[in-house]
Symmetry: C2
Subunit: 362 residues, 2 copies
């Protein structure tokens, strides 16, 4: 129960979580310094104003371009998965640093454009890039982030064939992210989304880059296609679990931890898993409340409360968290299916990270 950071704790009705992995696994910190240094080295010195926006978004500079203490604020999940995978396969993790940096840049690129798309003014507790510099500059800041990622990958010391394969994988993942983002946006206007369409959408929007992180880690480390496939299955399930947990935090998360307002996704009419479940199982007044809140008019604070009530009635939280745990279980099972011996320390970190993500509160 301690794991669940809810702004409405009384509503939580799921089973008690295993508390073993209540603290973030070491892996989320271990590679941080090397990752940050690699990304910092990728940003060209000028035009200063352009790259200042990147440094600001990554948490390294303030709005005036002055360096700030503390560094980046994201979880750096994708780089961590890439490093861990390489390490598990017996490869010195620093060899994966370029791929890891490229992944983090692509992820942050998508966040900058995402914030423009959604008109979000806050991210990680700070004003978003577009809200400070305007849509035009933010567009180019995002684009620059993405292209620095490409440039890193095409200039990495990998042998030509592997380098090309790495670029191909990242490009494919990126195309899937775009398709997923587009579908996510399209779903906002619809109330007839089924669970299958939703799962397909998140496997592109979020899953693609997480799978790609694992696959790039494997590509750097090995030619063993069987191990790669099994590890990708781990990444696949982990990605689905990660996004559904994100959906939960988007509705019931603690604003002090998530950096986003309470009920943020409700106000934005996001068709996340709990809402889709709600639409499929609500009846009477609860269904009417959902239809009103997700209709064409803006949702007011009262409607946010009504939606929370309707979701409670249909057991949406419990259902969502049990999907998270099912996917988490399958992820760990997939790890068990890797026939090649993995480094025991890295393997333990993989399990710990997978379990931690299912219960994270930010």
């Amino acid at each position: 129960m301690l794991m669940f950071a809810s702004s409405a704790p009384g509503r939580y009705n799921g089973r008690t979580m295993n508390l073993v992995y209540a603290t973030p696994p070491e892996a989320l910190e271990k590679y941080r310094g090397a990752l940050d240094a690699a990304i910092k080295a990728l940003a060209p010195p000028e035009p200063r104003g352009l790259y200042d926006m990147l440094r600001y978004h990554l948490g390294w500079a303030d709005q005036a371009g002055q360096e700030v203490e503390g560094g980046s604020t994201g979880k750096a999940l994708r780089p961590t998965l890439c490093f861990l995978t390489a390490e598990a396969l017996g490869c010195p993790w620093p060899r994966a640093v370029t791929a890891a940096a490229a992944l983090e840049l692509v992820h942050n690129f998508s966040l900058i454009h995402d914030d423009i798309q959604d008109g979000d003014t806050e991210r990680r507790g700070r004003p978003t890039v577009w809200s400070l510099w305007g849509v035009g500059p933010a567009l180019w800041a995002g684009n620059a982030m993405r292209v620095l990622s490409d440039r890193a990958l095409t200039s990495d010391g990998l042998p030509s064939a592997k380098g090309r394969q790495a670029a191909r994988l990242l490009t494919q993942a990126y195309l899937e992210i775009i398709e997923g983002q587009y579908l996510d946006l399209e779903f906002e206007r619809r109330t007839d989304i089924g669970v299958a369409s939703y799962l397909d959408m998140i496997s592109r929007k979020t899953g693609a880059l997480i799978r790609c992180a694992v696959e790039l880690g494997a590509l750097v480390a090995t030619d063993d296609s069987e191990a790669t496939a099994a590890l990708c299955a781990w990444g696949s399930h982990l990605g689905q679990a990660f996004q559904v947990r994100d959906d939960i935090l988007g509705i019931w998360g603690n604003p002090a931890l998530t950096g986003k307002p309470v009920g943020n996704d409700i106000r934005r009419k996001k068709k996340t898993f709990p809402v889709i479940h709600g639409f499929q199982h609500a009846t009477g007044a609860a269904l009417a409340a959902l239809k009103a809140a997700y209709g064409p008019l803006a949702a007011g604070e009262e409607q946010v409360e009504e939606v929370l009530g309707a979701l409670e009635e249909t057991g949406a939280y419990r259902e969502a968290q049990s999907l998270v745990e099912r996917e988490t279980g399958q992820a760990i099972e997939a790890l068990g299916g890797v026939k090649t011996p993995l480094s025991p320390t890295a393997r333990e970190q993989m399990v710990q990270l997978t379990t931690f993500l299912a219960h994270r509160d930010r």
Copy 2:
């Protein structure tokens, strides 16, 4: 004189143009069918709504996603340069088709994001993507365009090392485009831009992809680095001439031909070459008019007229067109510097195209 399509013909005071290349060179049509087919084959079937925006932007579909006759409406300059270069170096031009398609997609990507940035509602005589579908979907449509370009290039049949080099070149060009776009935007708020800064900005914003088109054509065709460098010099000068001619059309172009309103760039406060020249040479009332029109307030129709007057007074058109012709001359000279024998037909088309672009009216 006939070459100059001005909405205010009395103002034109430049020297009489050579009329030999008044009609578009064949090269701009020759590769068109193959190029369109290649690009069409690159767009995935779904999500339908996402790729319908791409088809619409490229002129292949209407707003409802229905196929339209007539096909794409752009000049396809960059693909043409790529094909021509490959052909001039004795390579069958169809080998350059993937690179050419990738170039055209990157170019169109930048147009979609450019229209968002500038809030432009019309392009090539049709409503822009964002003005029809909104900023969010247009963002992803542009991003998808760019990533299809990457995907084409990383999956092309080129040998690994060349394929990687092609990706590296396109990525580098793309980064320069972004930097140039960013600077262009930054210049809108400044009135102290010198000619050198302007030339640097356009060599990124426009020149980078034009040079890259030539370099990719050469990469497909040859390992001859001397010929490649000389041809790139051709592309470099051609790019500068192309952009300054574009600046001229943005102020004095005929709206019926350019598809943009009269004085469009003045209203948008674009610091194009004629305006920079104006700021440097205007005095008294003319300088005051420029300062007012390019200040923080929106420029009204009266101010557009005043700017046209001030530019006339400083001979901005003549100065701009003479820069176009100087760069055009250097481009043709650079072609003369290629020591490897070029295919005479392709070479003649290169000269014709270079000269045509200096006098184009759309």
